[in-house]
């Protein structure tokens, strides 16, 4: 399954995931405590420089990851143009882009397995409530395993719809899809139990 980790190796790829996430938490909190335009501009500039340390390709990929933010940029931009509060708008946008940019940097420089390991470690105190790390690991693996299976199945169900209708599939296809998910869950539970259970 394709992840958002960048194939372009940077100096940050080798750092431990937990440390990066902790640094991110601190940096994001600081960003939200600042409100002076110049300070935020400096923070944004620093974020851009951080990306450039990974090279041009890496930085461009980082830019692409910011694309989903454009509707908010437009909305905030128009809003603050209307209320003639340009510096307020700039503060919001710079903070938003810097915060998301820093977070994306962590995602791009950390492998999926390392992230999952951090999550499992963080969940250890919850093992009293039945969220044992081993069960969490199995759960992660099951989701990743079944996404392509379910995609294929939805494709087949869609083909079955298009075999009898000239229109694109409608919400109805979710019914056999959900039933199939329930059946898969039953069958997989049996398979798990047959191989020693989830612990």
């Amino acid at each position: 399954m394709l992840t958002l980790t960048s194939p372009v190796e940077t100096w940050a790829h080798g750092l431990p995931a937990g440390a990066k996430l902790a640094a991110l938490a601190i940096a994001t909190t600081s960003l939200f405590l600042l409100d002076a335009p110049l300070t935020l501009a400096a923070a944004l500039g620093a974020t851009v420089l951080l990306y450039l340390t990974g090279g041009a390709r890496f930085a461009l990929a980082g830019l692409r990851l910011l694309r989903p933010l454009w509707p908010f940029v437009v909305i905030v931009g128009l809003w603050h143009l209307w209320t003639r509060d340009l510096s307020g708008g700039a503060v919001i946008l710079m903070r938003m882009v810097a915060a998301v940019g820093l977070a994306n940097f962590v995602t791009m420089t950390t492998r999926l397995s390392d992230m999952l390991a951090v999550i499992e470690r963080l969940a250890r105190p919850l093992s009293r409530f039945g969220v044992a790390p081993r069960r969490l690991a199995i759960a992660f693996a099951l989701v990743i395993r079944f996404i392509p299976v379910m995609l294929d199945r939805l494709d087949e169900i869609g083909a079955s719809w298009r075999a009898r209708s000239p229109h694109r599939p409608r919400w109805r296809v979710l019914v056999p899809a959900t039933l199939a998910a329930l059946d898969d869950a039953d069958r997989t539970a049996e398979a798990l139990r047959a191989r020693g259970g989830a612990g």
Partner: protein, 243 residues
């Protein structure tokens, strides 16, 4: 079925899926009443079915069913072709039998009331009027296959594509379904890996690795196919990954 069918014409068609060449320069004109497409799993049979059905478009070449392009002209394609997929559970969209049967008709333009009435008529004719309001999941596996076939027949297509129609069914169910298929007036194109299923076809195509390696009456193609399958099965190696 009003007009006669001009058949399925495939010219220099290739299909690429995920970078892999699945079908390679196929050239076919299918007009016979009973046609079999035989091949191992992974030979491209299901992709060929989807190509003929217009569910995918060729990356090169053309496909015409009764003169129209099934990919772009969906309405004409639905009048020309019906498809029976392998797994009824991935095919059935509605909770009850009558709704499942009425679906295709309503999509062809009938009102829901008319479509349901036709569905009831069809069930009556098959001696299965009591199935109308039954939840689909209360039907046995063989009954579900039957329901899917009925749903396809309701739309009166000129050709029906069958994807592994007898796979996984017990012997009595296989016999019943095979008998039902044999009696159908439509052209049938059966896609399968099992030579026994296509013994009574007029014409059998052997598809291997996206190409037609044999094309003729079952008496010619089947013995060669069975011999080759035995030869491959006699070897132990199957270590190559597709990707």
């Amino acid at each position: 079925m009003a007009e006669p069918s001009s058949g399925i014409e495939i010219a220099a068609a290739s299909v690429r899926l995920g970078g892999r060449l699945v079908l390679d320069g196929l050239e076919l004109h299918l007009t016979e009443a009973r046609i079999g497409v035989l091949g191992r799993n992974g030979s491209g049979k299901t992709t060929l079915l989807r190509l003929i059905a217009g569910l995918i478009a060729p990356d090169a070449g053309t496909v015409r069913v009764d003169g129209c392009d099934p990919f772009t002209d969906r309405r004409a394609a639905l009048a020309a072709l019906g498809i029976l997929f392998q797994n009824p559970d991935h095919q059935i969209l509605f909770p009850t039998v009558e709704e499942e049967l009425a679906f295709g008709l309503a999509q062809q333009g009938m009102t829901q009331a008319e479509a349901l009435a036709r569905a009831h008529q069809a069930l009556q004719a098959e001696g299965r009027a009591h199935w109308a309001k039954a939840p689909v999941t209360s039907l046995s596996q063989g009954q579900r296959h039957y329901l899917c076939l009925m749903a396809v027949l309701m739309m009166a297509p000129r050709t029906i594509l069958l994807d592994e129609p007898l796979a996984g069914l017990d012997l009595p169910t296989q016999a019943r379904l095979a008998r039902r298929f044999a009696a159908l007036p439509q052209r049938l194109v059966t896609i399968t890996h099992d030579p026994a299923t296509v013994q009574t076809c007029d014409r059998v195509l052997w598809l291997d690795d996206g190409r037609i390696v044999a094309d003729g009456p079952p008496g010619t193609v089947l013995p060669a196919f069975i011999a080759e399958m035995a030869r491959i099965g006699g070897q132990d190696a199957d270590a190559d990954l597709a990707g």
